[in-house]
């Protein structure tokens, strides 16, 4: 039965008429499902086949409004089907449904042509929001704890819910515009709630983002998800810390790559560390 459920639907959202081995699906369904006075075995199995696809497509549709807007609903749906065919859900929760989407977009660039780079940026940004929403947190340390330690020995962990992204498109502003233009559709959450085939939504078109380097930290503060634009040196310090470098080494390597020598880096970096600690981004690795 599972094989039947996971098989993609026809373009008109029906169950495929031919089974994978060439037999008719009608014959296969009749072997294990009873018909009743109103529905054939095929039709009864088809209800489940449709429910499966509507449920998972609905979920990606809700979780990736940015990517869906970039590609258009029809192209997005085709991509989602191809993705789920290769990577069906392997988690008890639909929250994780998109966890291999970025990987798939890299493996199969045709689905997003000619906007592959933009699509990947968007998918990464949208997945980072999921992680920021309910990803694990470690006990954060504050600025005073950092000051008491010597910078060339201090190693800081970055919260697992925090994602640092280097992107070629300003997808952060774009996603805000997309969400504004869409009314808040909430996913049916529970039990046997039924889902319908994906439909295009009627709303004001949002202009696609222009090519522009942006460095982002996607995080949460007081349990709200935010994304914060970072300066190049800021981004470099944080990524170096993420790799396990000491605070001194991270600052040094970030500045050595920086061409901006006219700034008061000591003051700036101190402010950054104050802000990051106030946001709760650091923990002490054991």
């Amino acid at each position: 039965m599972t094989n039947a459920l996971f098989r993609p639907l026809t373009p008109r959202w029906g169950m495929q008429k031919t089974w994978s081995d060439g037999r008719s699906t009608k014959e296969v369904a009749a072997q294990f499902i009873k018909p009743n006075d109103r529905l054939t075995s095929f039709e009864r199995l088809e209800i489940y086949n449709r429910q499966y696809w509507f449920r998972v497509l609905d979920c990606l549709h809700d979780d990736y409004p940015g990517l869906r807007t970039i590609l258009g609903t029809s192209k997005f749906t085709k991509l989602a089907i191809a993705y789920l065919e290769r990577y069906p859900s392997n988690s008890y929760t639909l929250r994780d449904l998109g966890d291999r989407l970025e990987q798939f977009l890299r493996e199969e660039p045709d689905w997003t042509a000619p906007r592959q780079a933009l699509a990947i940026d968007m998918a990464r940004f949208e997945w980072a929001q999921t992680v920021a929403f309910d990803g694990p947190a470690k006990r954060s340390i504050d600025a005073d704890d950092i000051l008491t330690k010597s910078a060339d020995q201090l190693i800081l962990g970055l919260q697992p819910y925090l994602s640092l992204l280097e992107l070629d498109y300003a997808v952060d502003d774009f996603l805000i515009a997309v969400k504004k233009s869409e009314e808040d559709g909430l996913r049916g959450e529970a039990s046997n709630a039924v889902h319908s085939a994906p439909r295009g939504s009627r709303r004001k078109p949002v202009r696609l983002p222009k090519k522009q380097k942006v460095l982002l930290a996607v995080h949460r503060y007081e349990n709200m998800v935010y994304s914060k634009r970072l300066e190049p040196e800021e981004y470099r310090i944080l990524t170096a810390l993420e790799k396990g470098e000491t605070v001194a080494a991270a600052c040094e390597s970030a500045l050595s790559e920086s061409g901006r020598t006219d700034r008061d880096w000591t003051g700036i970096i101190k402010n950054w560390f104050d802000t990051w600690s106030a946001l709760g981004w650091f923990y002490l690795p054991s």
Binding site: M1, T2, L5, F6, Q31, F32, I33, K34, N36, D37, R38, L39, S41, E43, R44, L45, I47, Y48, Q51, Y52, R55, V56, C59, P88, S89, N90, S91, Y92, T93, L94, R95, F133, D134, G135, P136, A137, Y161, L186, G188, E189, A190, S191, N192, A193, V194, R220, N223, M224
Partner: protein, 281 residues
């Protein structure tokens, strides 16, 4: 049997499903609600907003956990991460009992996220009961299994759905979450008398009842949980209450969720209804 070992000897009244669109209203207005049912999986996260809301709810209300992904009927072994997280949540909520569905939904680690019907055979009943027992021993909380609505039946079945349910709960020595809407939906889809179903299950094992609305299509009924409760379901509910007693009842409303007040109003109807039935007994 309002209070029994399957609902942790509690005497809960009418509960409402805790749903995202109602969070703000509930936390701000603090309406009088006997208890909230939560979907366990929505709160089996590491941290963040869902747990913050849950903790605020727990400060004021009693919460019962209802799951959608244990899949007692799947041939697969339990997903250990899932069970560990579930146990952590059980400790957090102090749920007096826990429910999930008599169904399957995953195979070889692939998840359908659906509640799929099982072939009603003795072998499947035994396997399912063993998984229920193992889950209860691990989670250390009474378990009630819920009958799902279905749209298909298998040639392999050796008994009716209610015989299968009875067989499983007897073997597992667990409780029943009796969903009267699901019984009604399945009775239409499979041409049986829903009263036969309700009459022929072990009544002393019913720890909780679900009522809900559904959608009617031309050839079958879908359990959509997006309407008020319909008349025949109210009648079946009254019949169930007569047989099993004044049991904790939850009104399910999962899709096209109206305002909290509207759901609350429907739930209060259930309360009145229940009182009348009990008074007339």
């Amino acid at each position: 049997m309002p209070s029994n070992e399957f609902n942790g000897f509690t005497d809960y009244g009418i509960g409402i499903g805790l749903r995202v669109p109602h969070y703000r209203h509930i936390l701000a207005k603090k309406p009088v609600v006997d208890w909230f049912e939560i979907i366990s999986e929505n709160f089996m996260v590491d941290s963040g907003r869902p747990l913050e809301v849950l903790d605020q709810i727990l400060e004021q209300y009693r919460v019962v956990q209802h799951g959608v992904a244990i899949y007692f009927g799947s041939a697969d072994d339990f997903d250990r991460t899932h069970l560990n997280r579930l146990k952590r949540l059980v400790r957090r909520t102090n749920t007096p009992w826990l429910s999930d569905h008599l169904c399957w939904g995953s195979v070889d680690g692939r998840y359908t996220h659906d509640l799929l019907p099982m072939p009603y055979t003795f072998a499947v009943a035994k396997h399912t009961a063993e998984k229920i027992k193992a889950a209860r021993d691990f989670l250390e909380v009474p378990i009630c299994v819920e009958n799902v609505s279905s749209y298909a039946e298998f040639h392999a079945s050796e008994m009716t759905e209610w015989e299968f349910l009875s067989e499983v709960v007897e073997l597992a020595d667990c409780g029943i979450l009796l969903d009267v809407n699901n019984i009604y939906v399945s009775s239409k889809n499979h041409n049986f008398d829903p009263y036969d179903y309700v009459n022929n299950i072990p009544h002393h094992r019913v720890g909780q009842i679900h009522i809900a609305g559904h959608s009617k299509f031309e050839k079958y009924i879908l359990d959509t949980h997006d309407h008020p409760v319909l008349d025949p379901v109210w009648k079946l509910y009254a019949h169930a209450i007569k047989l099993v007693g004044n049991t904790a009842t939850l009104l399910e409303w999962d899709d096209r969720i109206p305002s909290f007040d509207e759901v609350h109003h429907e739930a209060l109807k259930a309360d009145k209804f229940r009182e009348n039935v009990i008074a007339a007994r």
